[in-house]
């Protein structure tokens, strides 16, 4: 049988291990796993640059601590550097708690991988994710002592790098959005317009609990944010944010996805409220905008009629195929995939542990 020129890889990180699945058509999936059984997998990066598929995972054992491992053979074998890919320098006095984000950079910077971690920190690797260096500008930021922890911990969970590699946006919970215009050397809070209703001053310079940010595929300076209540867009590189929550059934949620190529297209998974983190009326639906948040379309074909589990910030992903695939998993351990940008979903896994992270990619062969 001839090997497919390309196929799809789906990686599902859960509270108790990692599952990997491949598919020729995004309909039928072949699974392996659990890998790293009994360890949390809160972060996954699929790096398809440099002519290979490298799967990077943040692994957190409640007993044996956090680490970063990678596989270049679709999970058949895993490696981790002897002294750890992410290791706080001695002078910081800090210890890594959990890797929340692994973000392979642009095609033009093939060895560069970014990571976001707890305690709140950003890291950069130039060797494909085998060794990371702490971003000192953010680590030594004067706001640090005032950043706080959300329920899941205090972490940098979103890293968005522009194609030129100069402008970097980081989002942290809690702290908000920070922007660097010099490739990560210096950072400024950029939260104007984002509400922090849970603080004495609801419009502070920083302290917002942004849950996820993502960049528009085609419009420079445009980003989207799902906040702890509030869905926002910026058109000026985060200098100002405006609400785009109108038309959504709820402005709470964790997920923010953007299209790999098309401008104005983003997906969210609304949850009823901070105090009731379930899909509105117990009916799970993805919402997509095709006009940068001016309107939203409810997408629920193929999703269950009742669902009381939430979808966490990194438990959702898009692939780069045409049309784009949309994937997400619930805390109830069910994973759904759409091969048509969310118009219809199929259940691809169920009864897994809580899904913490989902990533999907088009890969060679497999």
């Amino acid at each position: 049988m001839a090997m497919a020129a390309e196929s799809f890889l789906l990686a599902i990180g859960t509270k108790k291990g990692l599952w990997l699945a491949t598919s020729p058509d995004r309909r039928e999936w072949s699974f392996t796993g659990p890998h790293f059984l009994m360890a949390e997998i809160p972060s996954i990066g699929i790096d398809t640059r440099q002519g290979r598929t490298r799967i990077l995972v943040g692994v957190s054992s409640p007993h044996w601590g956090p680490t970063v491992a990678h596989s270049d053979d679709l999970g058949a074998t895993w490696s981790e550097p002897e002294h750890g890919a992410i290791r706080f320098p001695e002078d910081t006095g800090a210890a890594l708690e959990r890797v929340w984000q692994i973000h392979p950079d642009d095609q033009s910077r093939p060895g560069v991988v970014w990571a976001g971690a707890e305690p709140i920190s950003v890291w950069k690797s130039t060797d494909g994710g085998e060794h990371f260096e702490l971003n000192r500008g953010l680590w030594e930021h004067p706001h640090r002592s005032e950043w706080g922890a959300g329920y899941g911990g205090a972490a940098a969970h979103s890293i968005v790098v522009d194609p030129a590699g100069e402008t970097v946006h980081v989002a942290m919970s809690t702290g908000g959005v920070y922007r660097s215009l010099d490739g990560g050397t210096s950072w400024e809070a950029r939260n104007k317009g984002i509400s922090a209703y849970f603080m004495p001053d609801p419009n502070p310079e920083f302290g917002q609990c942004v849950h996820k940010i993502a960049a528009d595929a085609a419009v420079e300076g445009r980003l989207y944010a799902q906040n702890h209540h509030g869905v926002y867009r910026t058109d000026d590189n985060a200098d100002t944010w405006t609400s785009i929550a109108g038309g959504l059934p709820a402005d709470f949620g964790f997920v923010m996805l953007t299209h790999p190529r098309r401008d104005g297209t983003a997906w969210v998974v609304p949850l009823k409220a901070d105090g009731e983190r379930i899909p509105p009326d117990g009916k799970l639906a993805v919402h997509r905008t095709d006009d940068a948040g001016n309107s939203w379309k409810r997408l629920s074909a193929g999703l269950p009629g009742q669902e009381y589990n939430s979808v966490l910030r990194d438990a959702a992903s898009v692939d780069t195929a045409e049309p784009a695939g949309v994937y997400f998993g619930t805390r109830g351990g069910t994973v759904y995939a759409s091969a048509d940008e969310g118009e219809t979903f199929r259940q691809v896994a169920s009864h897994l542990p809580d899904v913490l992270c989902v990533r999907a990619a088009v890969v060679a062969g497999a």
Partner: protein, 95 residues
């Protein structure tokens, strides 16, 4: 020369080349920290599973010297005598 034995739980043994006991020569008392330093120099990943990069014992890892958990003694400064055994055991935690 007398030795101090470090007994590993099964889950950590693959990180020590499959060994269940690591023996370190010792002519006199050695602190648990020094003992773990010696282990980490031979098996770095194993060392990272037991202690974080600040040198602190991971929260849900327990080390017993002569039947006592070191947190009830002098922590990682607890001295181990030649001939004694040191047990590494994961605590009962999780769900």
């Amino acid at each position: 020369m007398p030795e101090i034995s470090l007994l590993l739980p099964g889950v950590l043994q693959p990180l020590a080349g499959g060994q269940s006991v690591l023996s370190t020569p010792a002519e006199g008392p050695v602190t648990v920290a020094r003992l773990l330093d010696a282990v980490a120099s031979d098996y770095a990943v194993l060392g990272r599973r037991i202690r974080d990069e600040t040198g602190a014992l991971r929260r849900f890892v327990n080390i017993y010297v002569n039947g006592d958990e070191v947190r009830r003694l002098q922590g990682l400064d607890t001295e181990v005598q030649p001939g004694q055994e040191v047990l590494v055991i994961q605590s009962v935690a999780g769900g």
